[in-house]
């Protein structure tokens, strides 16, 4: 319904090349975020790749060094979590409402958790970021330009790590951990009744979407097949180097 043709040069969606810590697009005009001391570190990757384990270990490590840390995770907003769970449990969710509910969840966390934490100089560990939403929407055939403009209100993270794991290895992990879930298998896309086939196909398509974003958004790709400790060491080395280069204040753990 919008006529954007009058200004073809104007592009305010989520695209690469934006200075970290700034809004991708129009942002929230009523909440300027420039020059806040905090840092956003996002960990991306499909289901079952080990993100939460890595984040838990990272948090501990950062806190021991004296950084203030908050975690924020997909669909964990107090405003939206009950609604999203309810909507998923019913059969009425379609690809548009699915995408918009996630955006609402993210907006709530951005305003209430992420921005205040940045202002206060915290390290924000984001378990998934807008790339998950863009990938899921892409697989479901939502217009990629529209979804990027929608997320123009997001802040470009300072670092994005992408834990990469092929669909076959992922399938084995998810099965070991308790089984395949309806949404993780993309069953809403009604490609067929076989959950294993659906899971594999859906996750393969997601991986393609992530791969397409890796260069644009400067993902730092980590091999998800490596042992937990190995990945953690790599994360700590890269984050340590980044924070050395000037970052949030920290309390000297020695108390000096």
């Amino acid at each position: 319904m919008t006529d954007t043709s009058e200004d073809p040069e104007a592009d305010h969606g989520a695209h690469g090349g934006v200075t970290p810590g700034h809004y991708y697009g129009h942002g929230l005009p009523y909440l300027p975020v420039h020059n806040y001391p905090g840092r956003i570190i996002a960990i991306e990757g499909t289901d079952g790749v080990g993100r939460s384990t890595q984040i838990r270990l990272l948090r501990e490590w950062l806190e021991v060094q004296g950084y203030g840390v908050i975690e924020t995770g997909w669909t964990r907003s107090p405003l939206m979590q009950p609604t999203i769970d309810l909507a998923k449990a019913s059969n009425t969710l379609n690809k548009l409402t699915f995408v918009l509910l996630y955006a609402c969840d993210f907006a709530d966390r951005l305003e209430k958790e992420i921005i205040p934490a940045l202002k206060a100089g915290f390290v924000v560990l984001a378990d998934r970021y807008i790339y998950t939403a863009i990938a899921r929407a892409g697989v479901r055939g939502v217009d990629s330009e529209w979804i990027r403009r929608l997320y123009g209100f997001a802040i470009a993270p300072h670092l994005v790590f992408y834990l990469k794991l092929d669909a076959e290895a992922l399938a084995r992990r998810v099965l070991e951990a308790g089984g395949m879930e309806y949404w993780e298998s993309g069953m809403d896309m009604k490609a067929g009744d076989d959950i294993f086939d659906n899971f594999r196909n859906y996750q393969r398509q997601l991986l393609k979407e992530y791969a397409a974003m890796a260069d644009e958004f400067g993902f730092r790709v980590l091999d998800g097949r490596k042992p937990v400790n190995f990945i953690q060491e790599d994360l700590r080395r890269q984050i340590g180097e980044f924070l050395q280069g000037g970052g949030p204040a920290r309390i000297d753990p020695s108390g000096a």
Binding site: M1, T2, Y30, M80, D108, F153
Partner: protein, 157 residues
């Protein structure tokens, strides 16, 4: 922002279940408020005007959109005559501009009206003076609708 996105979600849901199917069946859909309400209300709350228009680009452009325009005092009088309390969000109390509900309503809705004034030419909305009698308004409204439907609809007196 969450206010804006929750309403967009609601709209998307109604669009796919309540608006598009009857359109496909050749029926007339009467929409009490449309995306324009969001354009006005969200912008009054400080959400970027372009962003909210982009957001609603999934909406179907209506065949006819009519804006019932009324001065702030008239709408306040009408609402206060009917019920005791103005609604929290309707009065823009979330903005924290005034602790007085009536005063907050006046401040917030004035901004909403300003946004509508820009939306009317932008999207070619028909305008009806809603401070007049219901009969007068209905007469104008029926004329606008009839013109759009190419000929008088059945049952018009």
């Amino acid at each position: 922002m969450t206010f804006s996105l929750l309403h967009a979600t609601d709209f998307a849901d109604r669009l796919l279940y309540k608006i598009i199917p009857p359109l496909k069946a050749g029926m007339i859909v009467l929409a009490d408020r449309y995306a324009f309400t969001a354009f006005a209300r969200d912008a009054a709350r400080g959400v970027d005007r372009h962003w909210v228009r982009d957001l609603y680009s999934f909406a179907v452009r209506p065949d006819l959109a009519v804006y019932f325009r009324v001065p702030i005092d008239v709408s306040l009088d009408r609402l206060l005559a009917r019920r005791v309390k103005l609604k929290f969000y309707e009065a823009g109390m979330d903005m924290g501009w005034s602790t007085n509900v009536t005063e907050s309503f006046r401040l917030f809705q004035s901004k909403v009206l300003q946004e509508y004034d820009a939306i009317v030419p932008e999207y070619g909305l028909g305008v009806i003076d809603a401070s007049g009698s219901i009969t007068d308004q209905q007469r104008v409204y029926r004329r606008l609708v009839s013109e759009r439907l190419d000929g008088p609809p059945a049952g018009t007196p």
